[in-house]
């Protein structure tokens, strides 16, 4: 049963092949068995899950079930869930019980899904390896000596090792797509504004976007329909109608124009990954798509511009963690300044502090123009590159990550090397476009992700192409044998 996708589970529940309580118990068992090794979950909500499952079964018996009623799910520990510890994988919020519910998780609750627990992540979503967690690194189920990517590492691992049929996550510079790629799962980051950010703990407000990790594009479509839409509580959420993403999954790819940016296929890219992505592109060509080489000339500047913007915003967003109203407070502060300095110094991890430092510096007097303003100008150039590209093609295709999963501790001492793991993903966040990573092959037993980028609010097209690809391949159906 744990091999089944969300839409298959939905059918199994509808056919009474299994009850939600049985299904939930099955996943809880698997979590108890494998989580000690993988560290994918920070909090297990067993009691709540069983209660919700029971409720879901009752709703179904009364004919009040939706497609997702009774299907289990896990939430990245960045979403506020009322009455449940919401830590953002930080010592700072280790004792924080969210007093309110995020819009995204509220919609999932509303749909009748069952919450298994809250997943591990890089502290405050800052990282590309899930090593920056107060609760310890999360392990890649394909090789437990390797990282699962980040920051939504726990969600990716939960799905990859089938400790949840689906999990939510967030993506500020690749935090859904890169772990998706490194764990062989499907990671969807919608257009900025597609999903409300209310209740999603902010890292960088103009870049953050919620999304999902699933086995298949079909599941991603099903879940996106549930969580997308305008939210009056988030004035940056888009007033765009939410289409039925599932409806267009089987559209023909005939005539779909797919662009391969030449800047993505350079020496920085692992050769096996390069070959794999080209093979995948050919597969789409066989389905009727037309391949074009395109250019995104300012791609090389995206990582530095991204880090300037993300770090400036984070330095301000994280100022609220001051030990005054909630969260960690240092022992016996001798005065107010000491309270601030030590609560933040002790409550925040090394990478978070590094980022706050850089962000504070770039915004400080005399440096704003050279850093923040300059980065925003580059952001404009990058957006214009994409706007131009989407006049010629419908979808942009490339690798998600320059390498497969790297070893734990391999890059921890070199932040710049770690930042370059985001080289193919951050530009999409700068422009606010939707992107998806889907499994496209393996290299030495480690999954390779293919990234598809769509135009603004063209998630339906992204999911259509991804689904068609997944109809022809079974990379997304592979599972790490140790957990099978």
């Amino acid at each position: 049963m744990y091999h089944k996708t969300v839409s298959e589970l939905s059918k199994a529940l509808a056919n009474k092949a299994i009850s939600s309580v049985e299904l939930t118990k099955l996943y809880l068992e698997r979590i108890k068995q494998y989580n000690p090794l993988l560290n994918a979950y920070i909090t297990l909500t067993e009691e709540l899950a069983l209660a919700q499952a029971k409720q879901a079964d009752q709703a179904r018996a009364q004919g009040q079930a939706t497609l997702l009623t009774g299907v289990p799910i896990a939430h990245k520990d960045i979403f506020c869930t009322e009455g449940i510890k919401t830590s953002c994988a930080s010592k700072m919020l280790d004792n924080f019980i969210a007093p309110y519910e995020s819009t995204l998780t509220a919609k999932i609750k509303q749909a009748g899904m069952v919450l298994l627990g809250k997943t591990n992540m890089d502290e405050f979503a800052m990282g590309s390896s899930n090593e920056n967690s107060y609760y310890g690194a999360c392990k890649n189920p394909w090789d437990i000596e390797r990282v699962p990517g980040g920051s939504s590492g726990g969600s990716a691992v939960a799905v990859a090792a089938r400790l949840a049929p689906a999990a939510t996550g967030t993506d500020t510079g690749g935090s859904l797509r890169q772990p998706g790629a490194l764990t062989g799962t499907t990671g969807l980051k919608p257009t900025y504004g597609r999903i409300s950010r209310y209740g999603m703990i902010a890292f960088a407000s103009s870049l953050d976007q919620g999304g999902i990790l699933t086995y298949t594009a079909e599941d991603a479509a099903l879940l996106l329909e549930t969580i997308a839409g305008f939210d009056p509580k988030d004035s940056t959420s888009a007033v765009e109608p939410v289409p039925s993403y599932s409806k267009n999954l089987n559209d023909s790819l005939k005539g779909v124009r797919i662009g391969l940016p030449k800047e993505y296929f350079t020496s920085q890219l692992d050769t096996t990954i390069g070959t794999t992505i080209h093979t995948a592109a050919k597969e789409l060509e066989k389905l009727g798509a037309n391949l074009h080489e395109i250019s995104l000339p300012n791609m090389g500047l995206s990582v530095p511009a991204y880090y300037v913007i993300a770090l400036a915003e984070c330095s301000s967003n994280l100022a609220r963690y001051d030990g005054v109203r909630y969260g960690y407070r240092c022992q016996d502060p001798k005065d107010l300044l000491d309270l601030y300095m030590r609560s933040r110094g002790e409550g925040l991890g090394a990478e978070v502090k590094r980022r706050i430092m850089i962000g504070t510096y770039t915004l400080s007097a005399g440096y704003y123009d050279a850093y923040y303003l300059k980065a925003q100008q580059i952001r404009r150039l990058i957006q214009e590159d994409f706007i131009k590209a989407f006049k010629e093609v419908d979808i942009i295709l490339g690798p998600t990550s320059p390498t497969t999963a790297f070893k734990i501790n391999e890059k921890v001492d070199d932040p710049v090397a770690m930042y370059l793991a985001d080289i193919y993903t951050v530009a999409i966040n700068l422009a606010g476009l939707p992107g998806i990573s889907i499994p496209a092959g393996f290299s030495n037993g480690l999954p390779i992700g293919m990234q598809l980028i769509g135009n603004y609010f063209a998630e339906a097209k992204l999911l259509n192409v991804s689904h068609q690809y997944q109809q022809q391949t079974d990379w997304h159906r592979q599972m790490p044998s140790q957990f099978n």
Binding site: V324, G327, V416
Partner: protein, 95 residues
């Protein structure tokens, strides 16, 4: 950035950095800044900055009060509280 400047920024950000952390932090920050300086490779003179990916207008809400008092719930997360107030070490009286 020199160690002194790092200390200044750490103060601005209210981050206590001990001497052991200071050197590695200075080193990391400088490496990152060097990397970021790659931005200077492109001339951006005259290009309008893009603050937000969605260049749309702000939506406003109506002037309505919907919130009820949830003080007791919120105070549960407070590290120190009394009489409905969040407590902090004495703030030096300004007047």
């Amino acid at each position: 950035m020199k160690v002194d400047e790092i200390k200044k920024i750490a103060f601005l950000a209210r981050l206590d950095v001990n001497d052991r952390e200071l050197l590695s932090l200075t080193n990391d920050v400088n490496n990152i800044l060097n990397f970021i300086n790659k931005m200077n490779e492109v001339d951006t003179h005259g290009i309008a900055p893009l603050a937000h990916p969605l260049e749309i207008n702000q939506r406003l809400r109506n002037d309505e009060v919907t919130e009820t008092n949830q003080r007791e719930l919120f105070l549960k997360n407070a590290p120190a509280q009394e009489a409905g107030l969040f407590l902090v070490p004495k703030v030096i009286e300004e007047v």
